[in-house]
């Protein structure tokens, strides 16, 4: 298994669902304040709805956003400077959200309807 951000991180991990990226959004930890808002903006963009429509379930019930923020973007507290590469993916609503340590938030939707 390779480290870092590369094709091996392809989120089509469960083998049954085909994920297609629908949107991506850049998050700048220094500028944009909260990762939570950035994720919600990205999901709203992917669904083509206003952010106020993306309220259920609260992200609090799905992932620990503070922990993602610390793990991927809080370089100072770890005493290293930006050379950490990593990705956190999680399912949210109908989408798969992928947060990368380079600041890109990518949102995927199931590409083909499941015929079970």
């Amino acid at each position: 298994m390779k480290d870092g951000i590369d094709r091996d991180d392809d989120p089509a991990v469960d083998g049954t669902t085909h994920w297609c990226q629908v949107t991506e959004r850049r998050y700048d930890p220094g500028q944009d304040g909260e990762l939570t808002a950035a994720i919600v903006f990205a999901v709203a963009d992917a669904e083509g709805v206003p952010t106020s429509m993306v309220h259920a379930p609260p992200l609090y019930e799905v992932v620990n956003v503070d922990a993602i923020e610390r793990a991927l973007f809080d370089h100072e507290s770890r005493g290293c400077s930006g050379n950490v590469a990593g990705t956190v993916s999680f399912r949210y609503r109908e989408e798969l959200v992928r947060v990368r340590s380079d600041g890109w938030i990518q949102v995927y939707e199931p590409g083909e309807p499941q015929q079970s």
């Binding site: 939570t36 808002a37 609090y60």
Partner: protein, 145 residues
């Protein structure tokens, strides 16, 4: 105590608790209204808790206020925040801060109606707050050469 400090670690959550406990209206506030008020306080860099009378029995005083059904200083919002900022605040409230505060019994957040109100926090909340206060008093009493 760790849990309490985690809860109060976020300035936005401190402002939410403070704002809700100092409202004069008794009916729940809409999340949008709350977000706008918090955004305004953040813009004004308000530290409303610094404005109250500092006293040795700070917490006792807070508890007295609690029993008196909220009679602290009314928070003055500092100007009208722009919609974008309010929207950011609203998102973080709805997705993180309100569920977390609700889970700890510090506010009651009604997800269905999109409203929130202050609660009487559980005894553990006050006990932890007292524990923090004892820690800080003990620390202040020590001297380092």
């Amino acid at each position: 105590m760790d849990e309490l400090l985690g809860l109060l670690q976020s300035r936005r959550r401190r402002l939410v608790i403070y704002y809700l406990r100092n409202r004069t209206e008794s009916e729940p506030v809409r999340v949008e209204t709350l977000a706008s008020a918090i955004a305004a306080m953040e813009m004004a860099e308000a530290q409303p808790w610094e404005n109250t009378e500092e006293s040795e029995e700070g917490l006792t005083q807070v508890e007295a206020e609690r029993n008196a059904e909220g009679g602290l200083v009314q928070v003055e919002p500092g100007g009208e925040p722009e919609a974008d900022r309010t929207d950011h605040v609203r998102i973080s409230l709805v997705h993180i801060h309100l569920p977390k505060l609700d889970e700890n019994g510090v506010v009651a957040y009604d997800f269905a109606t999109g409203t929130v109100r202050a609660t009487h926090p559980p005894d553990e909340f006050w006990e932890r707050l007292r524990s923090c206060q004892r820690f800080s008093a003990g620390l202040a009493a020590t001297e380092v050469e």
